[in-house]
């Protein structure tokens, strides 16, 4: 019998209340071992206070070929950015 350990994607939340961030992947037989391994592989220098692991096979991703059409709607809406608006200096900080 020979079966390679499945791959897990590892997400870690750093010290300061930020989101969990993807840091890499690793092999482990199950979720519990994946968390233990992630502790050793990805947090040897106090990089985090919380670990998520997700089986890589369970990740659904957008199609890189469809990148242009997928993100097109946000391309021409510069009015979504604060710098679009000219506020007179007299008004003060806004």
């Amino acid at each position: 019998m020979k079966k390679e350990w499945p791959l897990w994607e590892v997400f870690i939340r750093g010290q300061h209340g930020l989101n969990h961030r993807h840091v890499g992947s690793l092999h482990a037989p199950d979720a519990e071992m994946a968390i233990k391994n992630a502790r050793d592989v990805y947090t040897r220098r106090k990089e985090g206070v919380s670990i998520w692991v997700v089986p890589s096979a369970q990740i659904s991703a957008s199609d890189p070929g469809a990148k242009d059409s997928l993100f097109e709607p946000s391309m021409d809406k510069i009015y979504r950015h604060p710098s679009f608006y000219d506020i007179p200096e007299d008004v003060g900080k806004m």
Partner: protein
Amino acid sequence: MYAQMVKTDADKVRDISEMSPEERAFQERIDRGEKIEPTDWMPDGYRKTLIRQIGQHAHSEIVGQLPEGNWITRAPTLERKAILLAKVQDEAGHGLYLYCAAETLGVSRDELIELLHAGKMKYSSIFNYPTLNWADIGAVGWLVDGAAIMNQVPLQRTSFGPYSRAMIRICKEESFHQRQGFDIMMKMAKGTEAQRRMAQDALNRFWYPSLMMFGPSDKDSVHSAQSMAWKIKINTNDELRQKFVDQTVPQAEYLGLSIPDEHLTWNEDKGGFDFSEPDWSEFFEVLKGNGPCNRERMDARVKAWEDGAWVRDGLMAHADKRAAARQAAE
């Protein structure tokens, strides 16, 4: 350099006008400094070369644990032992980051390991030299990790996203490795006469093998030219070797140790040192498997892999059984 003489399958670097539209778009992305991600289209040669290079790099990290692991139980103080243990653990981590980066290209880690064990993949020549005494651990950190950093810092800018990200992580962790090595060398070079002699002897033995890490001159190599066009190699071997020598000579002077090269002289015109080439016939012998420790290293790796098989299989069987039980309960 942890990856040496990586072949590309190219017989010449093709001009942009000779490429298919897909290839041209790909090359233009690289030229613009964009990162290539695993699901993006890429030429077959790019994928294959990267698997070879990243795989070899990963193997080097893993095999590289052996010469240092040799001294964990014999470190002179508890502090040195804890430091060495942390360093060797880092190398294991670096190997794992790199295997994962290679796996995004469609090869599995087990496949890569089996290719290494079958002698079909390589690891860096440097790890086929023995670490005979404690001063060697200092020399390895100072010189070998120093040479590796020289190669890895530019690779942070490599075109393949997962490789670049692994390199960034590795570089962040690796500078401690070189510094702890230099720290050992300082202690010994400024210690008793016997310790100073040991430090000098370690430098003597590791100097040329460290220069070999960058590989022979590749200024005429098609493979290097292709890899550089793809930005999976950033500098030529000679450039990196020169930088390494220029950086290391003043450090040796600080230690009061002498570089074992009677031709070493400062060349004002080029703003760098002139130095002797290592014995390349020795390098090729080591690559062929005839270095002082090749057999020992591979035996140790294969033994660890085979002895650990029942643990890997057992944990997998247990996980499958529990998953099945959970499913039945639902």
